[in-house]
Symmetry: C2
Subunit: 157 residues, 2 copies
């Protein structure tokens, strides 16, 4: 991720949630990422999956490329002009946890009557996965046992 210092400061120097939302803090951005994680790479795939205005889609894809979440590469179908496709970077793939946590919350607290349209499963098995807090040994820790603790770097420490 390459950000100029000025651009970074605009995002919020003290809160990583606020900085993340400086890149992601908008409904269409998350839905573009949903499409990317589902395999969309081409402008037309994002547009058809989202029914978003082309100028909005162009602007959001641009922001995600600028922040190193997507990378843009040219491609050319036979008989067509050169176009661009968008692939998730490693930083973009890391957003799967954020999207999965949003999905999990929606499935729990805003459920569909006939069940979820997407489930999280372990690759190579049918086992259901969920998103949770995990300790350094890879064991889940319950919500009640997790706390957000300010460090000395916090302005209100």
């Amino acid at each position: 991720m390459q950000l100029s210092y000025d651009r970074w400061m605009e995002l919020d120097p003290n809160c990583s949630i606020a900085r993340s939302l400086g890149v992601l803090g908008e409904r269409w951005t998350f839905l573009i990422l949903r499409e990317a994680i589902s395999g969309a790479t081409r402008f037309a795939q994002f547009r058809d999956g989202l029914r978003v205005a082309p100028d909005v889609l162009t602007a959001r894809l641009e922001t995600l490329v600028e922040h190193g979440v997507l990378v843009r590469a040219p491609y050319r179908d036979p008989g067509s002009r050169t176009r661009f496709e968008y692939a998730l970077t490693p930083a973009g793939r890391d957003l799967a946890v954020v999207l999965a946590s949003l999905m999990q919350w929606g499935d729990t607290h805003l459920p569909r009557a006939d069940g979820p349209t997407v489930r999280l499963r372990q690759r190579g098995s049918e086992q259901a996965l969920h998103v949770g807090f995990v300790d350094s040994e890879g064991h889940e820790v319950g919500l009640a046992d997790a706390r957000f603790e300010r460090t000395p770097a916090h302005p209100a420490y």
Copy 2:
């Protein structure tokens, strides 16, 4: 969570990420939740923690109450008029995982030079926690081993 069917359909009948963002899909909403999880309950605490315009704060608190993320209760300090305070519901507390996943992504991909201002720790210990994918036995599963799988209820199944 109590939502009329019409309101629910507006949010998006098929995608729980989109429905969640129908409630949460805006920068201030996440930052209000950050303050609530840090212990803010009173309007002045949210306002001072966020430096947000009062009318925007009022509107966002209202939306979160309407969707069952916060609950509003009257209180009265000696010599003052009755005011309201806002407490997280169980659905609101469940958003800790979403906020923690945003924090983790920001700390990884948009880090501060002198380290994070907030860390996730296990209550009653100094052990660091993170957010990850977990199987039904409570063991972490790596990002590469998690997949989003469409169910027969998905419109494009």
